[in-house]
């Protein structure tokens, strides 16, 4: 009886570890997830030490909304943003990429509704910590709308990217 209980315990332990492995990140990265590129932005780089803006622009940043994300219906339909894509991997039309940022709220320029489920991507991601993040500032923008809450969204780096054009 004692042996049986022991076997069951070992089995449960191994099972739980295997199961957990399906959900947990691998080397800090998530498992493969699916989502859409829903907007982009190009802003001004910040000099980390002083916090002052430089005259250099960031590379284009991309906003990602995960499939089935609760944020789909939020005012800002995105879960993360990343600078990890090379130049326009999806051949997004220029008119959707302009302007570089939203002049009403200093946030990203989201695509129109008809393009929000078009640029599908699978990837593994890791949320960058403060020190590894690219620092940037968007603006200027008018002060009529709510300022885009950049702090509510994580900057991520990607790997194992699959693009479905």
């Amino acid at each position: 009886m004692k042996t049986a209980i022991l076997k069951i315990s070992v089995f449960l332990l191994l099972f739980s570890l295997m199961g957990a492995g399906c959900e947990k990140e691998e080397n800090g990265y998530s498992n493969l997830v699916e989502g859409y590129i829903v907007g982009t932005f190009i802003c001004d780089q910040i000099e980390k030490k002083s916090g002052e803006a430089t005259s250099n622009k960031t590379q284009r940043g991309y906003c990602i909304l995960l499939k089935n994300s609760e944020n789909k219906t939020s005012p800002y339909p995105m879960d993360f943003y990343t600078f990890d894509f090379s130049d326009n991997p999806f051949v997004i039309p220029d008119e959707a990429l302009s302007p570089n940022f939203n002049g009403n709220n200093c946030g990203p320029n989201f695509f129109p509704d008809n393009l929000r489920n078009v640029y599908e991507v699978k990837f593994k991601y890791q949320i960058l910590n403060e020190f590894d993040e690219s620092q940037f500032v968007c603006g200027s923008c008018t002060a009529m709308e709510l300022v885009f809450p950049w702090d509510d969204y994580s900057q991520i780096k990607l790997k194992d990217i699959t693009i479905n054009n």
Binding site: E52, P75, G103, N104, C106, C138, S140, M144, L146
Partner: protein
């Protein structure tokens, strides 16, 4: 049946009691034969202090009971005291009635329409012509009143301490012996308001919030506004004041902002497109929206009213067609452009998503340039908070710059509370109304501020936006959807973008009222007159939610005008008549309490607020003052004082120059020679120039001369005189006195200056023989018989040749004479110099072989 009777009796009794109670509590006065109801204020008392009570003492008494009580002075003894609740008012009433400093303390009344009607201890009455004096006196004894003033129109009676003037006035009237009898009501004139006829003005709760329900179904709180109509009673601005709106551009010839009210300049578009055209593109209405809030035309039967509707807008476009702001260097260029082209105020409803105070140093430097050139610079704080989600946000760059004088503007809401998105920060200076929250923060909230829009379908009316945290209306919905040029206006503006131009408009009113204000003056007035609303904890006048509070245009302008006022009056005050002083400019909204230097002056008559009459006390002289202690309707205290001279000129305002016309030598040049007597020679004529630099106008100058002296001639008037003074052979040390004729009449004698005898001018050297061939006698002689010598004069003698070489010297000569042996000297002229009693006497000696 019996039960029915009992029921009827009970009902009847109840009715009687309630009627009698109602009758007892009802307050009214007789306006001739009409009973006019008076309504006690729930929170206010009228307090009249005993004669002689100092205001400081009176305020200490009230504030000692509660710091929350507000005091509104009517005159030096009468005040309205405002409690925070009915209960506090009742408690205060009991306490003050028992205080010996208080003569009258009772509820402050209003008419049913709200007009203040305070009852003091005075009654105005007019008896019927047939009422005899005896009967009048009987009534006065019966009602315990005394007459304090009688005119051909009325008598003013005073009731005894603790008596109710309202009740007594009514008794007088009910005696049937008077034409009228009313309390001498303390009735503040209603503060006039300018309510414009602009179609959507009733939606502009920023300017005038009456608690009205507006377009989105919300209703705010009465008076949670900037009191614009009250400010407009004082000024609607000046076209000389120009406000640069650095933004998305302003429509040319907008129906509510024609080009005559814009300063549209070549080179004012720093965005894309034509550099000389600062008009908006696409739906970019943000610049219009800000400009309209500041300066939309008032009373044109359409649209809205700007806060400074006579000032002008300088559009400076700093956004591109795609909505993004121009680069930082162009931002700096735009600021410099506005400054260099004469904008007085720079209104900036834009920023960056950063809390770094030096994010773009070039913009910080440009802001400093604007301030250095005395421009008022305002920035919206940014919409970065979500207090409903416990997010305090941050003040965005450049509103956060660490530069004193930049006005950082947050947002309050329709209830005078912090708007949900307005950041909580020590960097907030003031707040101004805007919409309450974004719909993604608080369901049901939306933009609710009204302003101008790009005419036609572009801009915010119809609505074109989608997504983000904005989307309250369906795309294409119109607001407003009726009225003249309705698509040139919008009811969908908000954020700190709206609050910033509100404060810019108030700043424009301030500069219109007083163009000499510096940017720091404007900053201080805006912050000092802002209202501490919202129930937050204000420490030293500010809190992080609201800064120094919600701006109040009326209080700010009133304060500016009160500061601008000055006391006009005579520069001199005499005891021989009355002198009237008055406050220049409008006194609307000001309570003025005058006082003066009691040691020198006496008030004449009653202080009627706008002017003040004094006379100088007999024999009073010197400098004195009159002071106007001004309390604005907003409770700000401002003191104005003027100084002047009383009685007669003072010595220090005279300047004397005295010339010996025999020698051409200046013997004195002084203003006050109390310590240095002027030395005069006997038997000499002096030319004396007298100039007066004081406030009097001296028409004639007189002299009180020592015996034997004589004024040979005198010319001059209006403070400048030339006098020829003959001094006889008696020069006594003494005081020379002047007498003047001036405003106060033939003035008293003033100390002129001391003089003393110049002993040197009476002596000279005598040489005999001269020319000399071998020997000559040198003597010290005197010009007058009285000129005395020391009994045994002792003096020194030196002789110099023409080459200034010392030829002979004798020291300590005793007596008046000495001999000089010149034999062997070359022929020529020699200078003989004697030193006697410190005076140098010289004479020429000719030597011949």
């Amino acid at each position: 049946m019996k039960k029915l009777y009992i029921a009827l009796i009970i009902i009847g009794l109840t009715f009687f009691i309630s009627m009698s109670m109602t009758g007892k509590n009802e307050k009214f006065y007789y306006a001739f034969n009409e009973k006019v109801s008076l309504v006690p204020k729930t929170d206010a008392l009228l307090v009249k202090y005993a004669e002689g009570t100092e205001k400081i003492e009176a305020e200490k008494l009230i504030k000692g009971l509660s710091e929350d009580f507000k005091i509104k002075w009517h005159d030096s003894l009468t005040a309205e005291v405002i409690a925070t609740s009915r209960k506090e008012k009742e408690e205060l009433l009991l306490k003050l009635k028992q205080n010996s400093l208080v003569n009258i303390c009772q509820s402050f009344y209003t008419l049913e329409n709200g007009l203040d009607m305070g009852v003091t201890d005075e009654i105005l009455i007019r008896f019927l012509p047939e009422v005899s004096d005896v009967r009048k006196q009987e009534l006065q004894r019966e009602f315990n009143t005394k007459v304090v003033k009688t005119t051909k129109i009325y008598q003013k009676l005073e009731v005894r301490k603790g008596e109710d003037a309202l009740e007594i006035a009514n008794k007088y009237y009910e005696s049937g012996l008077v034409e009228f009898a009313t309390p001498n009501f303390l009735s503040y004139p209603e503060l006039h308001q300018v309510i414009p006829n602009d179609t959507y003005f009733n939606m502009q709760i920023t300017c005038h919030n009456t608690g009205q329900t507006f377009n989105d179904g919300h209703a705010g709180t009465n008076d949670a506004d900037i009191d614009a109509p009250e400010a407009w009673e004082l000024t609607t601005g000046s076209s000389n004041i120009v406000i640069a709106v650095l933004d998305q551009g302003v429509t040319s010839n907008h129906p509510d902002l024609p080009n005559t009210r814009q300063v549209r300049l070549n080179g004012s578009n720093f965005g894309d497109g034509d550099a000389n055209n600062p008009s908006p593109t696409g739906n970019a209405n943000h610049g219009n929206a800000c400009a309209g809030v500041i300066a939309a035309t008032m009373n044109n039967n359409q649209g809205i009213a700007g806060i400074a509707p006579n000032c002008r807008i300088m559009p400076v476009r700093i956004f591109n067609t795609n909505g993004t702001g121009v680069s930082p260097d162009l931002m700096a260029d735009a600021i410099e452009f506005a400054v260099n082209n004469g904008a007085d105020i720079l209104s900036n409803s834009w920023g960056y998503s950063s809390s770094n105070q030096n994010l773009h140093p070039v913009i910080v430097t440009a802001i400093n340039y604007a301030l250095t050139n005395n421009r008022v610079v305002l920035f919206s704080a940014g919409n970065t908070a979500d207090h409903a989600a416990s997010n305090n946000g941050y003040v965005a760059f450049p509103a956060n710059v660490n530069v004193a004088g930049v006005v950082t503007v947050g947002a309050s809401d329709r209830n005078d509370e912090q708007a949900n998105y307005s950041p909580t920060s020590s960097l907030i200076d003031v707040v101004a109304p805007s919409h309450r929250a974004y719909p993604c923060q608080i369901t049901g909230e939306t933009f609710e501020m009204w302003t101008i829009d790009i005419p036609g379908d572009a801009g915010y009316n119809s609505w074109h936006e989608s997504g983000g945290c904005v989307n309250p209306p369906p795309i294409g919905e119109q607001l407003p959807n009726n009225g003249t040029n309705f698509q040139s206006y919008t009811g969908r503006f908000g954020g700190t973008s709206h609050s910033c131009p509100v404060v810019a408009g108030v700043a424009a009113l301030l500069l219109s009222a007083d163009p000499s204000l510096s940017y720091m003056d404007v900053f201080n007035i805006l912050t000092n007159t802002a209202e501490d609303v919202g129930g937050y904890t204000y420490t030293n006048g500010r809190c992080n939610e609201m800064g120094h509070g919600r701006v109040n245009a009326h209080c700010a302008v009133l304060n500016t005008m009160a500061e601008l006022s000055s006391i006009s009056g005579p520069s001199v005050v005499c005891s021989s008549g009355n002198s009237t002083f008055s406050l220049t400019g409008s006194t609307a909204g000001l309570t003025i309490d005058w006082d003066c230097d009691p040691s020198v002056l006496t008030q004449v008559g009653d202080d009627d607020g706008s002017s003040y009459v004094v006379t100088a006390n007999m024999w009073a002289t010197g400098e004195s003052w009159v002071r106007a202690n001004i309390i604005t309707d907003c409770g700000d205290a401002i003191t104005k004082q003027v100084t002047f001279q009383v009685g007669e000129p003072v010595k220090d305002d005279f300047h004397f120059v005295m010339l010996n016309i025999s020698t051409g030598e200046y013997v004195s040049n002084f203003t006050n020679n109390d310590g240095n007597p002027t030395e005069l020679c006997p038997n000499t004529i002096y030319e004396l120039w007298t100039d007066y630099y004081g406030p009097f106008t001296i028409q004639n100058l007189g002299w009180n001369l020592p015996s034997g002296w004589e004024i040979q001639a005198q010319y001059g008037s209006n403070n400048r005189f030339t006098t020829y003074l003959a001094v006889n052979d008696e020069v006594h040390t003494g005081l020379f006195l002047t007498v003047q004729t001036q405003e106060c009449g033939w003035g008293n004698m003033l100390p002129g200056f001391y003089f003393t005898e110049d002993y040197s001018c009476g002596y000279f050297l005598s040489l005999a023989p001269n020319p000399s061939t071998s020997e000559t006698t040198v003597s010290i002689e005197s010009t007058s018989e009285e000129q005395s010598f020391d009994e045994v004069p002792e003096w020194d003698l030196e002789v110099y040749d023409q080459g200034q070489q010392l030829k002979a010297r004798k020291m300590k000569i005793g007596g008046k004479h000495t001999t000089l042996n010149t034999s062997g000297w070359k022929e020529g002229v020699y200078i003989v110099r004697a030193n006697y009693n410190g005076e140098v006497l010289t004479e020429k000696l000719v030597v011949k072989e």
